[in-house]
Symmetry: C2
Subunit: 315 residues, 2 copies
């Protein structure tokens, strides 16, 4: 049994072509080559917290993967959360534990950022005026970092809850290669940027339909449980294309679930990211379209990133 | 983080009053003091295998528990399965891993046997003629061992698939304190025993309604997925009392789920084991009754046994 800690995992990651690895996972999911049961979860109140168990396997693989990721209220730093978790790889013929990664939730953050880059690769307009980020936490930083490989623009407008959070963000991103403007008004992001990524745990919409201009792509990353929502559902109604990471999963969680419950979009209109990756469906077809990608976080991402780390750790 | 291997766990177990620990779990479940979401699972074909993820917490506890247990087809010893698994204990306020037990599925076997003893304690008739066991695998051995603490009879009739399996069983149980008769006919078990435990992975009924005499208690342990069935559903129809380890869980898996689907029993008739333990419902009221306990295996058992092992490992 191979046990890896966070430091070891961080050392291995640069050797992996993550975009490719995660793309292959989405393609497998859409081609029904992956078994990914519904997310198992524990939701805690008082103090609040969430635990997600995402698990499954790619058909034909000799491993199955169970990923546990948690977020708890941080009583020491209000407004932030304590993330943690681990990934477990098992032998598909015996159930033996092959490997455990004590990644403390890090690989979940990374595979989420990689999915954001993939959504932008296939759905963002040709020419990006600037990258808008709604949210200023860890995932906001990672999204920008991973977008670098698929987007040329190095201009970003970042929205946060308060000046302090934005100041920290700007400081942390010094040397990242991005020119960062900050704002407390999401409208400013929508006005100036045609690629927007939302990365908050908000339970009410932060972006509204009337703010969104033609030719904008939005990747919504924050909503992973039915209670969370970052986008006014009318944005999805207005969109020319609504893409799910997993249609099955987005029927019950994420932005799409809200829009479906409000009867603002039809299930039949939905496209899966893996269908675009594998070429069976088209991505963006013109620079005028409004496109939305709803990323709720799918076990295939965890399966793919953990397999890649495991393989690399043995080489 | 405390890591325990199977040997360490086996050394700790004798210090624990398991019957009490598991009874407390069932009582907590029935009194809604436990959070136990539906079982998460992976079912493999070719080669066949099952992985169950059972998880949750007792409200007010400072830990939550995720248990993974698997059974795979054993290509080396046909007819047997490879069991494996582990238990993970997490801090309920931070999501940090507090402890991992590499129990290889052992604690799942033990907490299952303890539940069998508890069912017999509350539901078996006063005077046991002999203990019938349908099945001759590991769980058959453990059920007899754990029944010792609640039942006086040391006579057992054991049914198995073939003479070889039964011979092995008899040899293994030398020195167990039981007089063991073996049979290839389940009718013989039903005829002579008034406490019967079924512990097979059968997908078709092994015991039939017309075989079951008045004053018999049956504990059905083997069926933990919807596809498995050990009892003819008419036995549940005929029974004076049908007890579930978890009513919610038995609606979709176990013997009760089959009887409900066939409209042979009513949901309203069901009693939960924890209701009997806590005294809010009565167990067996006369020696003439036929009673059935359907044990599908509930996360509260895993939570309770792992907490007890953890506590004992620190003392």
């Amino acid at each position: 049994m191979k046990i890896l800690n966070l430091e070891q995992i961080k050392n291995i990651l640069p050797d992996i072509d993550l975009i490719q690895v995660i793309e292959n996972g989405f393609a497998a999911l859409s081609q029904k080559r992956a078994v990914v049961p519904p997310v198992a979860e524990l939701l805690f109140k008082d103090p609040p917290g969430e635990v997600h168990i995402k698990y499954g396997y790619i058909i034909g693989d000799d491993l199955y993967v169970i990923k546990i990721a948690s977020g708890f209220y941080n009583s020491k730093e209000p407004g932030t959360s304590l993330n943690n978790g681990l990934m477990l790889l098992f032998n598909r013929k015996t159930g033996q534990v092959e490997s455990i990664f004590f990644d403390e939730g890090y690989l979940t953050n990374i595979r989420t950022a990689a999915a954001g880059a993939i959504a932008a690769k296939y759905l963002a307009p040709e020419k990006i005026t600037c990258i808008g980020i709604i949210g200023a936490g860890i995932q906001a930083r990672l999204q920008l970092e991973y977008l670098k490989s698929v987007v040329k623009s190095r201009d970003a407008v970042v929205w946060g809850l308060n000046e302090k959070e934005l100041e920290n963000f700007k400081n942390d991103m010094t040397g990242s290669g991005f020119n960062i403007k900050t704002t407390l008004d999401t409208g400013e992001v929508a006005e100036s940027c045609n690629l927007i990524v939302t990365v908050t745990p908000s339970r009410k919409p932060l972006l509204h339909s009337e703010q969104i201009k033609k030719g904008t792509h939005i990747t919504a990353v924050g909503s992973d449980i039915p209670e969370k929502q970052e986008l006014d559902s009318k944005i999805l109604q207005k969109a020319d294309m609504v893409v799910a990471d997993s249609i099955d999963q987005c029927l019950v969680r994420g932005e799409i679930s809200h829009a479906l419950r409000n009867n603002l979009i039809k299930k039949e209109k939905l496209i899966e990211l893996g269908e675009i990756i594998s070429g069976s469906k088209k991505g963006r077809t013109s620079d005028d379209e409004i496109t939305v990608a709803d990323l709720t976080g799918v076990a295939v991402q965890d399966i793919q990133i953990s397999k890649a780390v495991y393989k690399s750790s043995k080489s």
